[in-house]
């Protein structure tokens, strides 16, 4: 039985679009269509087999209202279907679908996230998620906010700039074996440390790429999961927590919300083999790994993580998909997925997935 919920729910299929710096030929609907085709055909089902649909996106990326409504065109929702949306990463859409499946009247849900970051200036768009009274009017851009967090980490003696470079080098090297990675390379730490600061103390290698992309997951409950997948990735624990929007009031060198979510999800109730962490900036991986209490023997971000591709609104969902894939392909038995939202790791979701 799962630690949470009374009804076992599993990830049974995962697909993602090519992660690219600038998708010039396809809009969001056209980007999603082949993703849906793949996520359904992986397990031999159609859109008519899912009873609930939930997406994560933000209209500020496209600059137009209700883009999540037009995105439904990519599914072809006729006859009508129960559908919902969160203005958050698709990982939180997955959480809503997991809750919905607990009700017991439907057996499967489609979850997806999408966004084209290339159309706008992300440094301005992401400033709008900050406190609108005392922070957003200063327009702190996400790199500057991440830099404040990184320096806090350095000054607290919890990490060095070399640690940042080691995260980046390991992630981009792992990304070489991820066909969907946007940034992948094999460069040594010393070489990375030679880069100039973009925003001190962050050098280029510590930053995520700007990515257009999308991803989708099919969740199935109970017997339906075994019917569709040989090795379903059962969600045995899932929780998300948020910290104050007052950036200065937080301890930026730790992630209290990740720690709390990990406790509730039961991360350390068993051995963690693989962890997919949503840490867009390299220093953040150190904070999240510490907050989760991961040991040195855990394989972290074999996909390359968000440093390999960072499609806003789906990078967190992709972490769940990548972690689940390690269960589904038989290479791991118990994995952890993490997703983040908001400035400097403000809100965090943690899921534990297990094979049978």
């Amino acid at each position: 039985m799962p630690r949470q919920g009374h009804r076992p729910v599993a990830v049974v299929s995962f697909a993602q679009a090519d992660n690219v710096r600038r998708e010039l030929r396809r809009n969001e609907v056209e980007t999603l269509m082949p993703v849906f085709a793949e996520v359904f055909s992986n397990i031999g089902i159609t859109k008519d087999d899912v009873g609930f649909i939930c997406s994560g996106s933000t209209d500020y990326l496209a600059g137009g209202p209700f883009s999540f409504v037009s995105a439904l065109d990519a599914i072809g929702v006729w006859p009508p279907r129960t559908e919902s949306h969160v203005e958050m990463d698709g990982a939180w859409a997955l959480y809503e679908a997991w809750v919905r499946l607990q009700e017991g009247d439907i057996d499967a849900a489609l979850v997806y996230g999408f966004g084209k970051s290339s159309m706008s200036d992300l440094s301005k768009v992401l400033a709008l998620q900050l406190d609108p009274y005392v922070l957003a009017p200063l327009w702190p851009d996400p790199v500057s906010v991440a830099a404040l967090q990184a320096r806090s980490l350095l000054d607290a003696g919890k990490a060095t700039e070399r640690d940042f470079a080691e995260v980046a080098a390991r992630s981009r090297k792992a990304a070489l074996s991820n066909p969907k990675a946007q940034v992948a390379y094999d460069r040594n730490v010393a070489e990375l440390m030679g880069e100039d600061y973009v925003v001190s103390p962050l050098r280029t290698h510590t930053l995520p790429p700007i990515t257009d992309g999308a991803a989708a997951i099919v969740l199935a409950a109970g017997d339906k999961a075994f019917e569709w997948a040989e090795r379903p990735a059962w969600i045995t624990g899932i929780d998300h927590r948020v910290e104050t929007h007052s950036l200065g009031a937080r301890d930026l060198t730790a992630s209290a919300s990740t720690t709390k979510a990990a406790e509730v999800a039961g991360v350390n109730d068993g051995t963690v083999e693989v962890a997919e962490l949503h840490a867009p900036f390299a220093p953040q991986e150190l904070i999240v790994a510490a907050a989760l209490g991961l040991g040195d023997d855990v394989l972290v971000n074999p996909s390359g993580g968000a440093l390999a591709a960072n499609p806003i609104m789906s990078a967190g969902l992709i972490r769940i998909g990548e972690a689940a894939s390690r269960i589904m392909d038989g290479s791991a038995g118990r994995v952890v997925a993490h997703a983040t939202s908001g400035p400097a790791l403000q809100q965090n979701l943690v899921a534990v997935l297990e094979g049978v």
Binding site: E30, G63, P132, L135, W139, A147, L148
Partner: protein
Amino acid sequence: MLPDVETLLEYPYTRTTGPVLGPFFTALRDGRLLGIRIDGRVYCPPVEYDPETGTSLEPDLVEMGSDGTVKSWTWVTQPTSQHPFDHPFAFALVLLDGAYRPIVHALEVASPDELSTGMRVSVQFHEDRRGAITDFHFVPAGTGTARQVVTGGEPVTVIEQLISLRYREPLQPHRRRFAQGLLDGRFIGQRSPISGKVSIPGRGYDLLERVEVGEEGDLVLADRGSVTAFTVITPIQYYGQKETEPYIRASILLDGGDTPLTGVDVRGLPIDEFRIGLRLQAVWWPAGQRDLGEIDNRSVSLDGIIERWNPTGEPDADPDSFEEFAL
């Protein structure tokens, strides 16, 4: 080659300030800095809820001094148009003397070489203040000018912030062909290879079967059709509203098409004679005067393309034949 689509998105946000931030902004306007006290902990800027417990707070506001210590900093080498300075500057976490947690704000120094964690800084109020977080910034301690408190003004109950974002992307291939057709005086739709249905504008895919439709699916539709639905809009006066009189937005099913053009402006036609089934003929703006300005990858307005729609004088189409169309 048609140019990229550029969009300017602006929201003039107006926010009420409430019992905690209202006095904070009023004090800033006057040249004073307030924090809030929670069980001996002082937060500046003041918070409405205890960050550690979420408890709603009674405003126990205290005046802060001018000085503080840098707890973290970063150096912005290329400021954006909205940043507080147009020259390189620092964002910093500053722990004001007596405060429990730092404030995030801008710090002006000549060079990043002057910056260090632990450096002492002071609040520098601006001369022209309106009751906003941008009424001050930080400078190295001892380099600012003394604050001059001016009291007696009205409380700051509302703050305004204009959000302004620019978007740019090329028209997608099928939308480019549609837009070029409009410039050439033709309505180009797309026929689905699965259902045979014709949609306009084409989306590059079949709406129900999720199958891509390429250029081979393009076809030209008539520039006349039938009204399948309409609504009479009575304008309310909001920021940016340009309309003053009631007007019609209609859905028009072009002959040969299976999806109506929606939201079509048919002003000029008498509202009380407008009806479902009415036959209309497009009157194009002259070639060279057609404007694609309101056509992007997500929405289409024909206002810059079609000057008006004229009744053709034909008998009305049978409304029952539109049963399939919800809009």
